[in-house]
Amino acid sequence: MFGEIFGAWVAVFLTFAIFSFLYKDNPFYKIAEHIFVGVSAGYWTSMFFWTQIQPNLFGRLWPSTHYSDGIWYGVYDLFGIFSSSIFPEGGIDKGHELHLSYLIPFALGIMMLLSLFKKLNWFARWGIAYTVGMAAGLRAYGFLNSNVILQIKGTIIPLLDPDLPFFSLLGDSHFNNLVILVGTVTGLLYFFFSKEQTGNFGKVTRVGIYFLMISFGASFGFAVMGRISLLIGRFTDLITYNDASYHHATIWVLVIMVAILGYSTFTDKGNSETDVS
């Protein structure tokens, strides 16, 4: 219970520290920002290690199913002396078989880490090259199929279907299908920069721009919606932490922080601390 209450106070402090940036850049914000950077790096490192490296890499190099007294597991036992949590006795039991081919990504990974040293900077290139190659191969197919071919298929829709009405606000209709076809084609034509956009071609691309502007406007509306939703989420948590069970953490931290920032602003008259506005 103490952990929860202490945690609530920490969470509220960190939240208001970040929000204090809205007033002006200040030490509270800088401290919270640096804590965020450090904790994120440590969090990701731990999470990726325990969900991927230990079970899927070490678990395939030293699986418990092949544990023996040979040299290979002798190396494992040596590692186990330093960390029995990562290298438990008897091998790693994650349901894998022995795959020594996984020494290749292990070596590439170590090379990536060694690139921290300036002279060995280029070591990371091999690992990066592997990820770039794989991503290129995956995306070439994925984007062409889903984002181009299937979208073309989705644009070729009936314009003369007798079952459809001419216009419908909420359902399919000839007019709506025509809007999609015209909008998609003119929008695509706008992105064709190899021909000067003048004359009749310019008129067509102008229509394309109008459709793109409507799309951008919708994106703007959704962006505002999303940001306000996140703010609502934060305030909801702050209201929760203001409860008596958390000893009214929100109001206490807010009052103390406002007092300190107010005092610092009052005494900071001649100082040119970076101002937000």
Binding site: G3, V10, A11, V12, L14, T15, A32, H34, I35, F36, V39, A41, G42, Y43, W44, T45, M47, Q52, P55, L57, S83, Y102, L108, G109, M112, A124, R125, W126, G127, I128, A129, Y130, G133, M134, A136, L138, R139, N147, Q151, L169, L170, N176, I180, G183, T184, T186, L188, Y190, I209, M213, I214, S215, F216, G217, A218, G221, M225, L230, L231, D237
Partner: protein, 272 residues
């Protein structure tokens, strides 16, 4: 040069080609490598990239402290935060009933505490800050300078109001009156004649009022001016058309760029 340039380019070409053609080849060994092992190797290298980022951060923050650069005191907090998370991840579980490995996801551990009370609030608040800046930018910078900007603004406003419950309470007749007012402003700026403007506005108000009275002021009629319906139409049709053209353009661009990487024409990953 061979190790630093040619071999990376060769790796991209070989792995890229195998991955790409793996979609179309039915040979069991190649398929098994592409679908399973190659994927796992990619995951492992992605993890090492994260470690590299973490250690790089540590190196830079330590350098800042040792060189007493501006703001070095804050770097102490960054390093403290990093080591706190590492201790929770590798040295101290906080819950003896949980095994190593599952402690990063189980309840009652120090790692979960750090996630719930430090990482989550910090990340959420960083993003929530943007709400304020969006509002401020909308007020100070969003200007109707031309027809395209007007289209963008009107579409944005219709989506913003039409998608929330409040939009359902705004009657189509209110929008009609608003359109009469905007029409009056337009007539005034075109003809610059107060008489014409007054006639337009008065006639407009009379027509809308008469129509509304005769129909009984239904909230959602005419449907084209009822914001929830209008926003739905914009969202599903002209918006999709614009978004689709952007998607197809990006899709073709990514396909072309991927082929350039595989053929060794694009070499930005080795700094060229």
């Amino acid at each position: 040069m061979l190790w630093k340039r040619q071999i990376p380019i060769l790796i991209v070409a070989v792995i890229g080609s195998i991955t790409l053609f793996g979609w179309f080849i039915n040979e069991p060994n190649i398929k098994s490598f592409v679908d399973d092992d190659a994927t796992q190797w990619f995951d492992i290298l992605a993890s090492f990239a994260i470690f590299l980022g973490g250690f790089n951060l540590l190196k830079m923050q330590l350098q800042k402290i040792f060189r007493r650069q501006r703001g070095w005191q804050y770097s102490i907090f960054a390093i403290a935060g990093f080591f706190l998370a590492i201790i929770a991840g590798f040295f101290y579980k906080g819950n003896p009933d949980v095994a190593w490995g599952t402690h990063v996801t189980a309840d009652g551990t120090l790692f979960k505490w750090i996630f719930t009370y430090m990482f989550a609030p910090l990340q959420a608040t960083m993003f929530a800050l943007l709400a304020f800046f969006v509002a401020s930018a909308s007020y100070r910078a969003f200007r109707i300078r031309n027809f395209e900007a007007t289209l963008l603004l009107v579409a944005g406003i219709i989506i913003m109001i039409g998608r929330v419950p409040l939009g359902s309470f705004i009657s189509s007749w209110f929008i009609l009156y608003l359109l009469v007012l905007i029409g009056g402003i337009t007539v005034n700026s075109v003809f610059k004649n107060k008489q014409y403007t007054a006639i337009f506005v008065i006639v407009g108000i009379i027509v809308v009022t008469a129509a509304g009275s005769s129909l009984g002021w239904p909230l959602d009629q005419p449907g084209i001016l009822y914001l929830p319906y209008l926003q739905e139409w914009i969202y599903k049709y002209p918006n999709v058309a614009g978004a689709r053209s952007i998607m197809m353009g990006i899709g073709m661009g990514i396909f072309a760029t991927s082929i350039r990487y595989i053929l060794g024409i694009e070499k930005s990953y080795i700094g060229e």
